[in-house]
Symmetry: C2
Subunit: 650 residues, 2 copies
């Protein structure tokens, strides 16, 4: 057996060893996918000693359940992963978790596992590459010039997010995207024909892809040929690798080997058939030596690029800083100059601020799902990205929310750019898992969600958020900020630009007054926006547009000598991170009389009120009609706030 085939068989062996050791994992895909993985890692411009090399080819394993064989590959190619790590597959705290995690394992370019996400992330990486290349590459210095490889399976391609992302890849003609489709005709439950009768080749051609079919998907040399061919294509490429799930095992070609580990005895037998050691985790010397060579094969490319980078830094310090610096100070400086005097919706404020930032720094790159001009997430005079205009900074995502989220994750994973994604708040429900992934991967995607309540009016319940704000606030590691006016919106951006994790801004469609006292205290998550006069009798608590209702109610109440405090809480999560002392200074523990006011379900506020407190909120869906009429119908207005306070303090 020639050495490269032996490596592939060793990858298979190690994957099965991992799964047997953990007694958990997915052996079928590991056996089938190994040749394609080998072909890509061998041919990719990667340098395992610096796994995060900026100009490396990106490799995404969308079907993350094949993690075992990915880890085996990374180990063999010399990433920072040991045999001991492989032995700890799927154990708590190991470097080899059940599905690949980007901040855990060296060489993993994206967290995957939920099907379809990896494809969108790959498209995002490729989009980032194309954009950076067009905007930052110089004739004498190609700072960004690489391919993106994505492995996917049948399940990935069935998911809507993958269609959305790939359709966009075709439209944008992302010719450096190479998707390897592990086509084994078996899904978790059954043979593929039960759930899909598509002509995949034809579908991808219709979407603007070149398609190469490798009938012998078990022959890595055929896949290598296809990869080389794909690199010459002027369109994105789909390589269909006809593979065999569970190749080499008794369960080959059956759904039975999808998720059930082989016993150690079965593994030993399979290893013998493959001509590799049946001693668990044993790797032969010749494999080790050859892999060491492979691992180092792009050393020269790497060194050359380091030189380019150094020259780039000297010649183009400004661009260099944009790409590689964190630039937070520059953005902060720009933000500090902004202040609003006149009533304006927070989506409009957001639009102005975003444009100011994008005029400060060229590496803003994002867009909206066909509504950027309504959510105001549009960079003026910066052009739309297209195949003819890759330096355009606005990404016209089309009506593709879920892919938008996944693609922005990919842009962030790529590095070098600041990205934002925008749609109407209600449609965050279309992209929820992608938002969760931003949070899971610590990616500072900026989500701009406008049209934030029933106040959007006539479009009716299908378009009116009720539970969306509260439900976004439940996602761990996501900062959700709902500013009360334009100046709190500035503060919200201050939080966002320095947040290593994602931030979602919740923005109003309707004009909101500028509140006296609004501003940077919002950085604490919540603050007293309008203090009681003398002796506080109750607290009004709200976020967003409802804060101004509370301030109005405060004035009304004062006319009747009722003295209340108004607290604005743009970001509950952030407030909970403040000291107990600060929290107590805003919402004193002893205060039993807190009235929270919300145009939505208001669930977030229950944490902050005692049993004697109350949340004015909407327990049902919205209605089609004028915003104010709907608010009155549900009783969320100044009059009722006043009434409720009076009742409460009785």
């Amino acid at each position: 057996m020639e050495i490269e085939q032996k490596i592939i068989n060793t990858m298979r062996k190690l994957a099965l060893d991992e799964i047997a050791e953990a007694n958990s994992g997915h052996p079928g895909v590991a056996l089938g996918l190994a040749p394609a993985l080998f072909a890509v890692y061998k041919n990719a411009n990667i340098y395992p000693k610096d796994a995060n090399w900026f100009n490396r080819d990106r490799i995404v394993l969308s079907g993350g359940h094949a993690s075992s064989v990915l880890y085996a590959t990374l180990f063999l190619f010399g990433y920072d992963l040991s045999l001991e790590d492989l032995k700890e597959f799927r154990t708590l705290g190991s470097l080899t978790p059940g599905h690949p995690e980007v901040n855990v394992t060296s060489g993993v370019d994206a967290s995957t596992g939920a099907l379809g996400q990896g494809i969108a992330q790959g498209v995002g990486m490729c989009l980032a590459e194309k954009h950076i290349a067009s905007l930052y590459n110089k004739k004498d210095a190609k700072i960004c010039d690489h391919y993106t490889f994505v492995f996917c399976g049948d399940g990935d391609l069935m998911e809507g997010i993958s269609y959305e992302a790939l359709s966009l890849a075709g439209t944008f003609n992302l010719n450096k995207l190479i998707v390897l489709y592990d086509s084994n005709d078996i899904t978790m439950t059954d043979s593929l024909s039960v759930t899909s009768a598509e002509n995949t080749k034809q579908r991808f051609e219709a979407m603007g892809f070149d398609v190469i079919t490798v009938l012998k998907g078990n022959d890595y040399k055929e896949i290598e040929k296809a990869i080389k061919k794909a690199k010459t294509k002027s369109k994105p490429t789909l390589i269909i690798c006809k593979t065999t799930i569970g190749f080499g095992s008794k369960l080959a070609n059956s759904a039975k080997c999808h998720g059930k580990p082989f016993t150690k005895e079965e593994v030993a037998e399979i290893c013998q058939n493959f001509g590799v050691s049946s001693v668990p985790f044993e790797v032969s010397q010749d494999v080790k030596e050859y892999c060491a060579q492979l691992s180092n094969k792009n050393a020269q490319n790497y060194e050359n690029w380091q030189k380019i980078k150094e020259e780039y830094k000297q010649k183009y310090p400004n661009e260099f800083e944009e790409l590689f610096g964190d630039n937070v100070k520059r953005l902060e400086k720009a933000l500090n100059k902004i202040s609003f005097k006149k009533p304006i919706s927070t989506r409009e404020a957001s639009g102005e601020i975003l444009n100011t930032l994008a005029n400060t720094l060229n590496n803003f790159f994002g867009g909206g799902a066909d509504v950027a001009k309504s959510t105001m997430a549009y960079l003026n005079d910066k052009g739309d990205f297209s195949k003819h205009n890759p330096c355009g900074q606005n990404i016209p995502f089309g009506v593709r929310e879920h892919a938008m989220g996944g693609i922005c994750n990919g842009i962030c994973l790529h590095g070098g750019l600041r990205t934002f994604a925008s749609t109407f708040l209600i449609f965050c429900d279309y992209m929820r898992y992608a938002i969760r992934q931003s949070a899971l991967m610590d990616l500072p995607v900026l989500y701009l969600f406008s049209h934030d309540s029933i106040m959007i009016g006539q479009d009716g319940p299908s378009h009116q958020p009720i539970e969306q704000v509260a439900s976004l606030r439940l996602i761990p590691n996501l900062a959700v900020i709902r500013p009360a006016d334009a100046n709190e919106t500035v503060s919200a951006y201050k939080i966002a630009i320095d947040n290593p994790a994602p931030t979602a801004l919740i923005l109003s469609r309707q004009t909101l007054p500028i509140l006296k006292g609004s501003g940077d205290d919002a950085l604490f998550g919540a603050y007293v926006i309008s203090k009681e006069k003398k002796k506080m009798q109750a607290i009004l608590l709200a976020s967003g547009s409802e804060v101004s209702l509370c301030v109005q109610a405060q004035e009304e109440l004062l006319k009747e000598n009722i003295d209340v405090r108004v607290v604005s809480m743009p970001c509950a999560e952030l407030f909970l991170k403040q000291t107990a002392k600060y929290q107590n200074s805003v919402l004193p523990k002893r205060c039993e009389k807190i009235l929270a006011v919300d145009y939505g379900c208001g669930e977030t506020f229950f944490k902050f009120i005692s049993k004697t407190g109350k949340v004015m909120r909407i327990n049902s869906f919205g209605e089609s009609g004028k915003g104010q009429e709907i608010a009155d119908l549900f009783g969320i207005n100044v009059e009722n706030i006043v009434k409720n306070v009076k009742k409460m303090i009785k």
Copy 2:
């Protein structure tokens, strides 16, 4: 001008009148889509006097922003809608809301507006038709035999949910599905080419559709021809109607007429060009008379079907009852016989119960997104639905969560069947908007979500729900039930089968003990599952698998003479609907010491505890490792419950 063309122009005119009156709406699509709408309503087997006729052709307007012209059509075709109703377009409480709503307007078969959903719903209706026909039609009585028409636009087709649903329609060869694609090459922001360069015809052919292109999409006769042709096809059909957005207006063929109303003056001018009255809401006598005829044209079909129905009732009373009765009593009877004695996961319990129900009643029709055999949402011996086996009761949805939700909505909208949709809980994030739509439309879809916590273990954070239960509980009108053991699972089904709205069951992967005292008290949403011995010192509150932890902790505490109560709260929403007296008997208002325990974010519980209470919960994402190890890592275990109670009562 011939009369039918005049009707089309009157539809346009009325749509513009509505929009002008409301000063809100989408004129562009109304002008472009009118001929296709007319062609369908003229040729469809509908009977407006009985808008809900079981055997009518179904018609779904997926691009719900064209509501104005839909209402005009419904009015003209004689549905229960007056000119006065049209004048109230988009006003609060009217029969003509901003987007079509199924329970509001006679003749509206599905609530639409969020793009893509209507397509999945249409596929669901068509699937229901095919299944009912195969299972219930008799040689002498075709009780179900109709077409489903879906109107969609560019935006609908970009959404992933539409790809998922249509790919399945192709796989299942739903030949009675006719999709009319309003292809005007303009999206909300720009021309379509900016965001999509697809060859739609080729893509649909790859997906198993026949495609007919009507180049003169403004000529209703051409569309009629296409519809007639489509009815003869053996595959589902896509009719591409090349139309002109804003046809007849100065803004024709431009994104500018998408969402901006014309002024009344502009409307008058357009009406003159169309040769119809420019007096707002004036309809000429000849149009009225011809429409009255059209409205009645299927009277004979309708009468014939009524006879068939009557005969069917006589000859096949059992099937008749299944299709048209509510059958709750029969199902209840079956449920009452089930009780579990041995430890078993709630997903397994659910599987047994579901099968018992499906053996009681033949009209269960649902499935899972490639994981039905893991979530146990599989009907044994009932076969898989396929083009060759349309009486199969298990729908193999493939890895298509979002479409699964939308399709189940369509099945429910169709009527005659009970449907269920199943996947791992984490992936409810992929289908969230579809779940919301079940709730919005009052559709009793049964969602079966298993693998409900970190206890799934090694698959890691991408697969471990943290915020999902709490976030589902935020959706209005959705009953979310998380049973503590197998017997509470029976109770959960009792709630579900009688719930006119959707229910989501949250099920464990791991085995759970049978709890003493568990059972039908769960029907109250929450109840005392294990009472204090004498004097209650604290309350332990939980749902699902954590209830048994609490019961264990109670025992431990009792050894140290600490007397606590354990409350199981499978359904918070339901508990909140009980009398204050009942609520107080379970969670006494005076009780300051409530410790809630949750393997997830536990947000729901804050409503039920005072400021001195505490929620033991997970504030971050999960980890890859063994379930119990993860629970210990986060400190959610019996030991810590005991500790926390002691601290609390100090």
